[in-house]
Symmetry: C2
Subunit: 175 residues, 2 copies
């Protein structure tokens, strides 16, 4: 234990401990896209979570100085939930400066304007309803306008400790 | 594909599709506790995500009619990030009506008033800074006041398709 319970009001460098805590917290992966002032934009997010099924709404957080502010300013976004068959695309959108929306990448503009990654398992078209600024990051709450799903045959993809993992029946704990 | 791209403004029962999409989206697990008007309260959440490391802040969503409104009304909460060694505790706090904070459960009140689950890997003491209502659910943004961690020797715990999974080196995808 790095600190006894009594010293919770931390004496440690909080940001380092915080990063360590969340590096060990597993997460699913999504690629969030929109059309910005200069064309299609997108980034990988490990923070997408369900808020409410009825009405359908979700939340995610955005950090970074390039794509994040443009995404946060969009009226509508596409949240693609990604599986283990899309690890390469997830890596591309997680890597600063990587080439995105190239001819090699299978994508198209929807009639509503957002760039759709055709191979994602689920694509949720959302309207941003709330933005909460936290330092230089933002929490985004979005209402789901439409949902498209397809069976990909791939297993779920999990991010943990900077590594991509695939779940299988063998990884399940006894009930 | 359940619908061609052109029909994203859904013709399907959105809530059902939404639930199906997020049932397939893996997540880490946390137990969030606080002290309510009538004593210690807590619930399992699969929505905890990092927002910002500097200043440290996190987000989660709350649904439900019993514990959730009490937690959302608290000034401070303890967010326990849980690993595979704590699956039993995670199940307890995920099961409506289950007995919590019993003598068998290893917990204590912190001097600051929140109930600490002693075996959690990480406990983050947080002050709720923002609440966004979405239907009958709430998005909660919280500033981290203090962090306590301990090595438990257990692997990460992942929730997917209503099943608990354990990650291992064997589950990692080639880089």
């Amino acid at each position: 234990m790095t600190a006894p319970a009594q010293s919770l009001p931390a004496t440690h460098p909080q940001s380092l401990l915080f990063r360590e805590a969340f590096r060990g917290h597993p997460a699913g992966l999504a690629v969030i896209t929109a059309t910005g002032p200069e064309g299609p934009i997108g980034l990988t997010a490990s923070s997408v979570a369900s808020v409410s099924a009825d009405p359908p709404a979700l939340v995610f957080s955005l950090s970074g100085r390039t794509t994040a502010p443009l995404l946060a300013a969009a009226d509508t976004v596409l949240v693609h939930l990604m599986d283990a068959g899309q690890a390469e695309t997830v890596r591309t959108f997680a890597t600063p400066g990587s080439a995105r929306f190239t001819e090699d990448m299978d994508w198209e503009f929807l009639p509503t304007g957002e760039p759709l990654l055709r191979h994602s398992t689920w694509a949720l078209r959302c309207s941003i309803t709330d933005r909460v600024d936290v330092g230089s990051s933002r929490v985004i709450v979005a209402a789901v306008l439409g949902i498209q799903g397809q069976a990909t045959g791939h297993g779920p993809l999990v991010y943990h400790d900077r590594t991509y993992h695939q779940l299988s029946e063998g990884s399940s704990l006894p009930g």
